[in-house]
């Protein structure tokens, strides 16, 4: 723990588990044995040893609540301990100072850490004082040895001391302390020797350590008292199991006589007397000794097995990304108020880090599509979050929408000094869902290309469609995935909207191919198979039906949910192909027409058969010509069958013609029907 918030997280987590255990113990007080009542505290001990939030899950969303509170409190302070933009994570369940304190919260943590040290010192001093007042009592050792022999229990050293009741201490070299000048019944010695046998001294030591670590949490002090009481109750049970008839009643009378005895609560000791009220409860338990339902060992174990995972790891608490409030409401906020809102919401967004690669890409893609700062914050490192925060803080005026922060940051559109602010505003159109291309695992994580189509209307309300690609890198940090845009392409506008079809949109993303297989040119026509790997969230979202370009429903990305699916998984990640035809001898003044047919095979099996839907010649789009080369890409579809078999050859033909001034067509070049064979194994692996 390195700041006060981490301590609060740890102590509240422990308190929550303790409260749950107390509720269960109350429900099963007279139903489950003292062994269960005491043994179940092992869950608390394990929970105390594990830093809160380590599993990434929790019984209640304490991390989210504390993150928001931290953001609100620390926004006005300059803490040396707290990273306002970092996650609320613990690496150890004890305090550790990392720098000189600066802020109020820093000093609070220093005060807490000092309290831990003082509490440890106080307990240690108490123990030393107790030990200093003990005197060896070899003359009483014979009685202790007799009891130990009778019940086959360990034999400690024997001493005398001031406290009115017997106790054991010193876990490493145990000592049984008897009250000076008072006779002690054998059953009392039996009780203390049973503490020794079952390691209760170590438990007491652990409780003292936890008291020190959580010295300012009175609830946990009460809980640790309860642990000690349950240890005594279990020890009573163990004593009664070894006694018969009248001896049990004697034991109850002995306990009653101890009601007014003071007991020493120091580390590494146990004491039979633990207060009048507890004595009364223990005597009632003795009276109930034979009435606990017997044969319940299996269910006791089952209940612990059900309880332990929930207490130790919690459950995945789905927290929704905060909603971006409406512009009018935001515009009314003062800068300070807006800062508070942003810090709180960014803290919540940070606690929603996607747990999967697909979830991170979905979050990033929808951040771009929806211009949502919080979606972006959920997958960004602290530096980017701070930049986002500053941008939103600076630009919250009536003329600037939340969404345009993205344009301003240059992530969406490459920074173009020739574009005026006004032009950029006009470009605030709508984005279609995104496509994930060429997801590949790297040494540090993953890389991918995220492709977007972008529609907008210009000043004359003419529609335009562009596409652009974000090259991103993904890294994993504390169990959550971050997405960093490495390169953003300039939007490339489509010239022919009539032939645009989302279904085959991937053919537009030239330059972002996984591989290119060039075929031998014929009659001046160059051909190649371009391969991209497309990762889909649902196999329903992209079809490659023969001659059915309208079969696709939405084609891209994750249209299944409006908000990011932080636990999303890819349904498939398969190679898709485009047939590229190039004619270097084209003229800029001519209008060209094309015709194609192709069949795709995996071995003997024909997977796809398609031809130009017009069944004749289709006009080549105006942007097909550039730098003296006419180029067109024909979407082929999936290059992998459902059983995983890869396509190994394509049979195709292509004819290029030129449109004559009189409306006729003149042939220009021709690729006769032929097959090209290839091996995609290495390409797509």
């Amino acid at each position: 723990m390195h700041d006060i918030w981490a301590f609060l997280y740890q102590t509240l987590t422990l308190s929550l588990v303790a409260a749950l255990l107390l509720i269960l113990k109350a429900i099963f007080r007279d139903k489950l044995t003292p062994r269960w009542q005491y043994g179940v505290w092992a869950i608390l001990a394990l929970r105390a040893a594990v830093p809160a939030g380590l599993s990434g899950q929790q019984l209640l969303p304490l991390e989210q609540w504390l993150s928001a509170a931290r953001a609100l409190a620390e926004s006005r302070l300059s803490s040396a301990f707290t990273d306002l933009w970092g996650d609320l994570r613990l690496t150890a369940p004890f305090p550790w100072l990392t720098a000189a304190p600066r802020s109020v919260t820093d000093w609070l943590f220093v005060f807490y850490a000092a309290g831990v040290v003082l509490a440890l010192f106080w307990f240690f001093l108490g123990y030393l004082r107790l030990r200093a007042r003990l005197t060896p009592a070899p003359e009483r050792a014979e009685q202790v040895a007799r009891v130990a022999r009778q019940y086959a229990l360990p034999l400690p050293r024997v001493a005398e001391g001031e406290p009115a009741s017997a106790f054991v201490c010193a876990p490493l070299h145990p000592v049984l302390v008897l009250p000076r000048g008072r006779e002690v019944d054998d059953k009392v010695i039996l009780h203390e020797l049973l503490h020794l046998k079952y390691g209760d001294l170590w438990l007491n030591l652990l409780c003292c350590l936890l008291r020190c670590l959580h010295w300012c949490n009175p609830f946990l002090w009460m809980v640790f008292d309860r642990v000690g009481n349950d240890a005594e109750a279990l020890c009573d049970q163990r004593v009664l199991e070894r006694l018969e008839g009248e001896q049990r009643r004697d034991y109850g009378r002995i306990l009653l006589s101890m009601a007014d005895d003071r007991h020493a609560r120091v580390p590494g000791t146990t004491s039979m007397a633990n207060g009048a009220r507890r004595i009364k409860v223990r005597i009632e338990a003795i009276a109930r000794f034979k009435r606990y339902p017997r044969g319940m060992a299996l269910v006791s174990l089952c209940m612990v097995l059900i309880l332990a995972p929930a207490c130790l790891t919690g459950s995945a608490w789905a927290v929704s990304l905060p909603a971006v409030s409406d512009h009018d409401a935001r515009a009314q906020l003062s800068r300070e108020e807006l800062s508070t809102v942003l810090l709180r919401d960014f803290a919540l967004a940070r606690s929603c880090r996607p747990a999967t690669v697909a979830g991170a890409l979905d979050c990033y893609g929808k951040a771009v599509v929806n211009n949502n700062a919080y979606f972006l914050a959920a997958v960004s490192d602290s530096e980017t979050q701070q930049a986002l925060y500053q941008t939103l803080l600076e630009r919250n005026d009536e003329t600037w929408e939340w969404g345009n922060y993205y344009l301003d940051m240059g992530v969406f559109l490459a920074d173009d000094p020739d574009r005026t602010l006004e032009q950029r505003r006009w470009l605030s159109g709508s984005l279609s869902p995104y496509l994930v291309l060429n997801l590949a695992e790297t040494e540090g994580g993953y890389t991918a290309a995220m492709a977007f189509f972008y529609e907008y209307a210009d000043e004359e309300s003419h529609p335009h469609v562009c596409w652009l690609v974000h090259q991103v890198a993904l890294t994993c940090e504390d169990g959550g995935w971050l997405v960093e845009p490495r390169e953003v392409s300039e939007p490339a506008e489509l010239s022919d909207l009539d032939s645009f079809d989302f279904a085959w949109g991937y053919r537009y993303f030239s330059g972002y191919d996984l591989a290119r297989l060039d075929f031998a040119p014929q009659d001046g026509l160059e051909s190649a198979l371009l391969i991209q790997r497309i990762s889909l969230f649902s196999d329903e979202t992209l079809h490659a039906q023969p001659n059915d370009h309208s079969a696709m429903i939405c084609g891209f990305g994750n249209n299944l949910t409006v908000s990011p699916d932080l636990d999303a998984q890819f349904a498939s990640s398969r190679p898709y192909g485009c047939l590229e035809i190039r004619y270097p001898g084209a003229s800029a003044d001519a209008d060209y027409l094309g015709h194609y047919e192709f069949d795709v095979f995996a071995g003997e099996r024909q997977l796809i058969s398609a031809n130009d839907p017009t069944s004749g010649f289709f006009p080549m789009p105006s942007d097909a010509y550039g730098d003296g080369v006419l180029s067109t890409r024909i979407a082929v579809g999936e290059l992998e069958a459902d059983d995983g078999t890869l396509v190994d050859h394509i049979q195709f033909t292509f004819a290029l013609a030129r449109e004559d001034p009189d409306g006729g067509q003149s042939p220009v070049a021709y690729l006769p029907l032929h097959s090209e064979y290839f091996d995609l194994g290495e390409v797509v692996s």
Binding site: L20, I23, L24, I27, F28, D30, K31, L32, L59, L60, P61, R291, P293, R294, G295, M296, L298, V299, C302, M303, L305, I306, L307, P309, A310, T313, S315, W317, A318
Partner: protein
């Protein structure tokens, strides 16, 4: 059990309580065989069996609590992660309740069953199987197995169905060990085996 308070109807009440709990018949969003009625029948039944099985009334508050929870869920579905902790408590109470009830009923069966009949053993095995299955289904580590392998899911569903049938069989079989006129003397040591 005294002739004035025959045991057979109480066992019938327990059996029908479980029928209501296990079987759901929905008309739209409403379950017309509500679980809470089943739990209140069980609460009443275990109270009435106190004379016969002294530790059984310890279950009455648990049954009442489960009934209240079921009633609340029937009125307004208690969904969402805010109920994670209460649902955990309910699950633990349920596991304990079923276990102890069948533990004690097995003891009763052992006292009254005719020679050669092993209804007590069947109830003990049912008790253990139910507890183990409930525990396994609660372990988070097994969730991916259940989600990824539909065969495992079907196996679990089949096991649950078998347990339901087995439970109802044992309860009605125990009831049938008692004559309808309540004449059987079931006095015996109160401790369960």
């Amino acid at each position: 059990m005294s002739p004035e308070r025959p045991i057979r109807p109480v066992l019938t009440q327990l059996a029908w309580g479980y029928v209501l709990i296990y079987l759901n018949f929905n008309l739209g969003p409403v379950d017309i065989l509500p679980d809470f009625v089943g739990w209140f029948l069980l609460a009443d039944g275990v109270g009435k069996l106190g004379e016969e099985l002294p530790s059984l009334p310890l279950l009455r508050p648990l049954a009442l609590g489960l009934g209240v929870w079921a009633l609340a869920d029937w009125l307004l579905p208690l969904e969402g992660q805010l109920f994670t902790v209460p649902l955990l408590i309910v699950r633990l109470v349920r596991v304990y309740f079923d276990f102890q009830l069948f533990h004690d009923l097995a003891g009763l069966a052992a006292r009254v069953q005719p020679p050669g009949r092993r209804l007590d053993r069947s109830m003990t095995q049912l008790r253990n199987t139910q507890a183990v299955l409930d525990t396994l289904l609660s372990l988070p580590v097994l969730y991916p197995v259940l989600l990824d392998y539909s065969a495992v899911t079907w196996l679990v569903l089949a096991a649950a169905l078998v347990l339901i049938v087995w439970t109802l069989y044992c309860l009605f079989a125990l009831r049938n060990l008692f004559p309808a006129d309540g004449s059987q003397d079931t006095s015996a040591p109160a401790d369960a085996p």
